[in-house]
């Protein structure tokens, strides 16, 4: 069993597990933090951005000034933003049989894998994961494609050139692997390879392995996966939550008795309490609006936004915000709000109960009905007519590099009345803000990450007791910025095996058994013998059939008819066809009884001699010698087959066969 680690990002994993002749990719997350090195893509020409000075290197050379721009001491690539792909060279990805997706954030690299590597397998994911994943991809493609950029910078990627650049560009890894965004046809092709699955559905892979998605409690349709054969169990835990938000709670019990537990997707902000953050979010929002300012919330179009809207639904009246418009701007805003209402089966118990009434599970339906929340595909069109300030705007992308959020950063950045509130934990907010500096608007950081923290992890591991834990190396040491916090790492026994990008781990496990089926006819023919109290044995000689990795034992074909006496001679000429199978023998031969038996069968001249280890029985006339010891019997005789066979059968009478 081997694990190929293709991504170094702990919350956007991409691993490949080789297990019992199947090759299974676990998630294909796309590391988008690379886009922070690029200039934002403004929808409307931004004079500020276009006037940024080109980079002048220390030695005064300016050959990069078209590609790299400086803004408040930071250097940015002026080009279409690019993403850092999972490793594609570590193993031949066309050999991947299946891809298991755990949640919609962890499938963003899917088109790169399915469309560019010769992949011919199947992708498994739940219905909400696919639908919302599609929305995320649509939004991504849309927000990049609608701002066509003529320039595609590549000179800076040259290793010799990169060395000369200031940090963080100097240290950016694998820049040659960075790729532009995929297109909608590629997204559609990739999604068409997905097969929908439900929680606790058992999916057979080639008869060798069974995979099962389990609720992980983190997002709509998010799953952990069990990968098991009859005797080995690997749990893949990725992005799980024990908090009660909108999704169905995490299924912990099914993770028990794992040989190996692969743990990824823990919280990125282990020190922040999501509940506290939501409170801070609300109060900052209210304060800004009351002072006449606007609030900008950079966010993904699905996920935490549902919870935020639900909080605001309860909060706005009491906070006196009933007249403040809330806008949700995204090409998929409408779809996301609609889809959230139709996945009753994937929701927490309370929301399910509402559907049974029947009422929409999320209160944003009411916010929309009462016109408190309005959604638009983009800032063009209807929005520009309806737009009223002060207001609250939810829009993407959280990296602040593309999407409608860029427009509002430029529009509102100069006024200290306005506030941008960061809730998504995927990007460092200071890095995200860097190309907008200097900035007058207030910045509030309320990261809401409901995924497992280290206290919950240690509780979980104690409960499910895996034999081995495998995790990204980041989880085996305290965060670099808080190196004294030894509580912010995984602590378990035996210590976890850690991996980093481009590493191959050999997972510890020893398989000793396999399942085989005994056909009823064969079972009927078996003769069990009780050897010890409660233990019976039966010798089995049978035909082994193996098909589709399933083994079946059947009755052996009937032996050919015993030859008639006439033909016997010819038969003995034939070389035995296949190796005959004789059972093992066990037991010992009591010499006295054996001699008696011999005499009963007509051997009159039996003589017994004692030796150091046993006895020698002599049949003088037949010139035959039988050495009997505790664990062996040796018959030495002339070539007299009838005699030998007779002696053999007499000896066998005293022994047990296995």
């Amino acid at each position: 069993m081997k694990l190929y680690c293709l991504s170094g990002h702990p919350t956007l994993p991409c691993n490949v597990l080789k297990f019992k002749s199947t090759t299974i990719m676990l998630d294909c997350g796309l590391d988008m933090t690379s886009t922070l090195n690029f200039l934002p893509l403004p929808l409307v020409q931004s004079p500020r951005l276009s006037k940024l000075p080109g980079l002048v290197l220390k030695d005064g050379s300016t050959f990069l000034d078209k590609e790299l721009k400086e803004c408040s001491g930071h250097v940015f690539v002026d080009s279409v933003p690019e993403f850092c792909l999972p490793e594609t060279e570590l193993l031949d990805l066309s050999t991947v049989d299946v891809i298991l997706i755990s949640n919609y954030h962890c499938m963003m690299a899917l088109p790169y894998i399915t469309e560019y590597t010769g992949f011919t397998g199947t992708v498994y994911a739940t219905e909400p994961t696919v639908q919302i994943g599609r929305l995320l991809m649509e939004e991504l493609v849309n927000s990049i494609e609608r701002v066509p950029k003529a320039q595609s910078a590549s000179t800076w990627k040259n290793k010799e050139v990169q060395r000369l650049l200031p940090a963080p560009l100097k240290d950016a890894v694998e820049v040659s692997m960075w790729r532009k965004c995929y297109t909608m046809p590629e997204v559609n092709a990739a999604l068409s390879k997905i097969q929908l699955v439900g929680y606790s559905q058992k999916i057979e892979l080639f008869g060798a392995v069974q995979v099962t998605p389990l609720s992980s409690g983190y997002a709509l349709g998010s799953s952990n996966w069990i990968i098991q054969s009859h005797y080995e169990k690997v749990s893949y835990v990725s992005g799980s939550s024990l908090l009660t938000t909108h999704p169905q709670p995490m299924d912990q019990a099914s993770l028990k008795n794992s040989d190996v537990l692969i743990l990824t997707g823990l919280t990125q902000i282990p020190t922040a309490n999501p509940d506290g953050m939501v409170g801070e979010f609300c109060s900052n929002l209210a304060m800004t609006v009351r002072n006449g300012g606007n609030v900008l919330v950079p966010c993904y179009p699905s996920g935490v936004i549902y919870d935020l809207l639900e909080c605001l639904y309860q909060y706005i009246d009491s906070a006196g915000l009933s007249n403040v418009p809330f806008y949700f701007i995204s090409p998929v805003a409408n779809s996301s709000l609609e889809f959230s209402q139709i996945f009753a089966e994937w929701l927490c118990h309370n929301k399910q109960t509402k559907v049974y009434l029947p009422e929409p599970p999320f209160p944003h339906a009411e916010l929309i009905q009462t016109n408190k929340l309005k959604h638009y595909p983009s800032i063009h069109g209807d929005f520009s007519n309806d737009f009223k300030q002060p207001c609250v705007i939810f829009t993407g992308h959280p990296s602040l590099r593309f999407g409608d959020v860029v427009h509002f950063m430029e529009l509102w950045g100069k006024s200290s009345l306005n506030t941008v509130i960061f809730t998504e934990p995927d990007f460092s907010y200071l890095d995200a803000l860097a190309p907008y500096q200097p900035l007058a608007m207030k910045c509030v950081y309320c990261p809401i990450d409901t995924r497992l923290n280290f206290i919950q992890v240690s509780k979980l591991l104690k409960e499910v007791q895996p034999l081995h834990v495998v995790c990204p190396e980041q989880y085996t040491q305290p965060p670099p910025s808080q190196s004294h916090r030894t509580d912010l790492m995984i602590d378990c026994q035996p210590p976890p095996m850690s991996y980093r990008r481009a590493e191959v781990l050999t997972l510890p496990y020893k398989r000793r058994y396999e399942k085989i089926e005994i056909m009823p006819e064969l079972a009927d023919s078996l003769v069990p013998l009780e050897i010890k109290p409660g233990i019976s044995l039966a010798t089995v000689s049978a035909m082994l059939h193996t098909k589709d990795n399933k083994h079946v034992l059947q009755l052996p074909p009937k032996p050919p008819q015993p030859p008639t006496s006439k033909k016997r001679k010819r038969v003995s000429d034939d070389v035995p066809e296949c190796k005959p199978l004789k059972p093992l023998l066990s037991g010992s031969i009591p010499v006295d009884q054996f001699v008696q038996t011999l005499e009963k069968h007509g051997f009159s001249d039996v003589k017994v001699e004692d030796t150091a280890k046993g006895h020698i029985v002599l049949l003088q006339e037949a010139e035959t010698l039988i050495q009997i010891e505790e664990d062996s019997t040796h018959i030495i005789c002339d070539n007299d087959e009838p005699l030998r066979v007779k002696l053999r059968d007499l000896v066998l009478k005293f022994l047990q066969k296995f």
């Binding site: 439900g198 929680y199 606790s200 559905q201 609609e338 139709i342 996945f343 009753a344 089966e345 399910q352 559907v355 049974y356 029947p358 929409p360 000793r512 396999e514 399942k515 085989i516 005994i518 056909m519 079972a523 069990p528 010890k532 409660g534 233990i535 044995l537 039966a538 010798t539 089995v540 000689s541 035909m543 082994l544 193996t546 083994h551 034992l553 070389v575 035995p576 190796k579 005959p580 199978l581 004789k582 059972p583 093992l584 023998l585 066990s586 031969i589 664990d631 062996s632 019997t633 040796h634 018959i635 030495i636 005789c637 002339d638 070539n639 030998r644 053999r648 022994l655 047990q656 296995f658």
Partner: protein, 608 residues
């Protein structure tokens, strides 16, 4: 021999009161819990006393599975998958788990409450379940996802498949070890305007229990029926008549609404369409929220347009029935036996311009059944005679599998046995023959209370040690891995666990030592040559004869054939005779015996 026992408590050679008891590998499962409406006493419920004469139901039953909830065309007041459930769980007493899909769980209590109201509040019956009982009963319900494998206990697992019949309808696979039963409930193999087609994988159950309502029917194409329907409605409305369509809240109602809505839109018609309020309106809500259970097309387009938000169809008010001019009204219930549909029917029956379209099966005794069988003078309550002048049309939109669909499902699932329920005996007989002919499987059709026993012959799963399996696959004579091979092992049976290991391992595990039995035979050969030359001749001879075996000439002058050792010595008295000592263990018995007889015949003269 292991067996599966099936006893219908209702729906055996009968339509209605679906309730089937299945015993499989020591587990007892009750499938559906319907009600017969031909009776007003306890006979309307399945005969639960059959399950266990005395003692608690909970101890006997491992679980109850509800395949669907429907007051579909032929069902309300006759039969419904769940109508007896509160009676069963609260009044007869059952505390175990009850499984159903999410939409079924959502709709079930509303339907039960609705039904309770009709029976108790309107008809004034007593000895019926109460609202509280419905609530308590629903607490025992566990909702299942499609394709989710639910582990009822260590051995018993169930799995739901999409059945298409109504929203949330499911077929269930019940499995214990290698033995399994599939129960279809009501299903539909052709997708319609709002639901998809039933689907099951090739799960090869020991037994498939299928409904057979339309056992002998092969219905004409759906499109024709739809065109026919629209034409009739359109003509009536054109000439200023009123159209009454009695429906049940869930199922066909939604399909026909979608049909009319699109037709009105296309033809730009103005006549109002009404939908009787209450349950039906709510039902449309359920369709909106459970849109993932509808067909592909509706699911794909729902963000732009939710098909269950109708533009032309409005809520009905009792007063509208007297409005002049044409209109179309969907009213419940579907068999014209009570409620709003019957009230409207009474008002409109006297006018020949009007039309009533019955979109489904009607049960004997109902007004619907009477008018469909041609009766035009109906005796109503109070000896009043109602003369029916309006046109009466029957149009089957009932979502049951027809004969073709049933055969198709059998082809999909490949069962070893088939059992028919929920149909009329005569029709079942016909279908039974057809199934036996085409699939060569046994087909059963037990009556109520009659037990069918099916013998299964499951193979026995055993743990085989990897060492033994690998050894057997490695030493195959042919490299072809797919060819069956003879293998030898020892089965250890201990506390219900079965393990197949190599004989060596079995001995070791039991702490026994192997006893080696060895034979050494002296074979005399006439050969005047020197010993090593004799050995060489023997070697060449054996090499020539035993082509498939490994024959080796060792440096110490001995020969091995596989693990059999041959040594040559000169005869102590006769130098012209050589003695060959052939030595083998019992495990090589056959080959050893063969070698001695081969050598005894001497060496071929030619070789030297």
């Amino acid at each position: 021999m292991p067996e599966i026992k099936v006893t219908p408590l209702g729906a055996g050679q009968d339509v209605g009161r679906s309730c089937i008891l299945v015993s499989i590998a020591g587990k007892n499962v009750m499938l559906d819990c319907g009600m017969h409406m031909g009776y007003n006493d306890d006979r309307r419920f399945p005969d639960f006393s059959y399950i266990t004469q005395n003692g608690r139901l909970t101890d006997f039953l491992d679980c109850v599975i509800i395949s669907f909830v429907s007051n579909g065309e032929k069902k309300v007041l006759l039969f419904c998958g769940v109508l007896s459930l509160p009676y069963f769980s609260e009044m007869v007493g059952y505390d175990g788990p009850i499984y159903m899909t999410h939409p079924t769980k959502a709709i079930c209590p509303i339907l039960l409450e609705d039904y309770r109201k009709i029976t108790v509040d309107k008809k004034g019956e007593t000895n019926f379940f109460t609202s509280q009982m419905i609530k308590d009963c629903m607490k025992k319900v566990v909702a299942v996802h499609l394709h989710q494998t639910v582990q009822v206990d260590e051995e018993l697992e169930i799995k739901a498949y999409y059945a298409g019949h109504v929203l949330g309808a499911a077929m269930f696979q019940i499995k214990v070890g290698c033995e399994s039963v599939v129960y279809t409930g009501d299903y539909n193999m052709t997708p319609d305007r709002h639901l998809g087609a039933a689907w099951i994988d090739k799960c090869r159950p020991d037994l498939l229990i299928t409904e057979s309502t339309y056992a002998t029917t092969i219905r004409d194409s759906k499109r024709c029926r739809e065109r026919d329907f629209l034409k009739k409605v359109h003509e009536t409305v054109e000439r200023g008549g009123k159209v009454l369509i009695p429906v049940f809240a869930l199922g066909r109602a939604q399909e026909l609404c979608i049909l009319l809505e699109t037709f009105w839109e296309r033809m730009n018609l103005k006549a109002p369409i009404y939908f009787s309020t209450g349950l039906t309106e709510k039902a449309n809500h359920y369709y909106k929220l459970f849109i993932t259970w509808t067909n592909q097309k509706i699911r794909k387009t729902f963000v732009q347009r939710n098909m269950f938000e109708f533009k032309h169809i409005k809520a009905f008010d009792r007063a509208f029935a007297d409005n002049p001019g044409p209109m179309v009204v969907f009213a419940t219930p579907g068999m014209l036996h009570a409620g709003q549909s019957l009230q409207i029917f009474r008002k409109w029956a006297g006018n020949e311009k009007n039309m009533v379209i019955m979109p489904g099966y009607c049960v004997q005794g109902t007004v619907g059944h009477k008018i469909l069988s041609g009766q035009r003078k109906l005796e109503m309550e109070g000896r009043q005679i109602l003369e029916v002048k309006m046109q009466v049309e029957y149009m089957s939109f009932s979502a049951h599998a027809d004969a073709k669909g049933i055969m198709q499902l059998i082809r999909q699932a490949e069962p070893r046995n088939v059992l028919l329920v929920h149909g009329e005996a005569k029709k079942m007989e016909f279908l039974k023959q057809k199934i036996e002919q085409e699939f060569h499987v046994n087909c059963y059709m037990p009556a109520n209370g009659e037990t069918t026993t099916i013998f299964t012959n499951p193979s026995i799963p055993v743990d085989i040690s990897l060492g033994l399996l690998k050894r057997e696959t490695a030493i195959g004579l042919l490299p072809d891995a797919k060819k069956p091979k003879l293998m030898h092992g020892t089965l250890i049976m201990k506390d219900n666990s079965f393990r197949l290991v190599s004989p060596e391992q079995a001995l070791k595990e039991l702490g026994l030592a192997e006893h080696q039995l060895r034979f050494t035979c002296r074979v005399h050969i006439q050969d005047p040559r020197k010993e090593h030359e004799t050995v060489l001749r023997v070697y060449n001879h054996l090499k020539g004869v035993l082509k498939d075996y490994s024959v080796q000439h060792l440096p110490d002058g001995s020969i091995t054939v596989e693990s059999i050792l041959i040594q040559a010595t000169a005869h102590s008295e006769d130098q012209g005779t050589k003695v060959l000592l052939v030595s083998w263990t019992y495990q090589d018995e056959e080959l050893g015996s063969y070698l001695t007889s081969l050598l005894k015949k001497g060496l071929p003269q030619s070789s030297s």
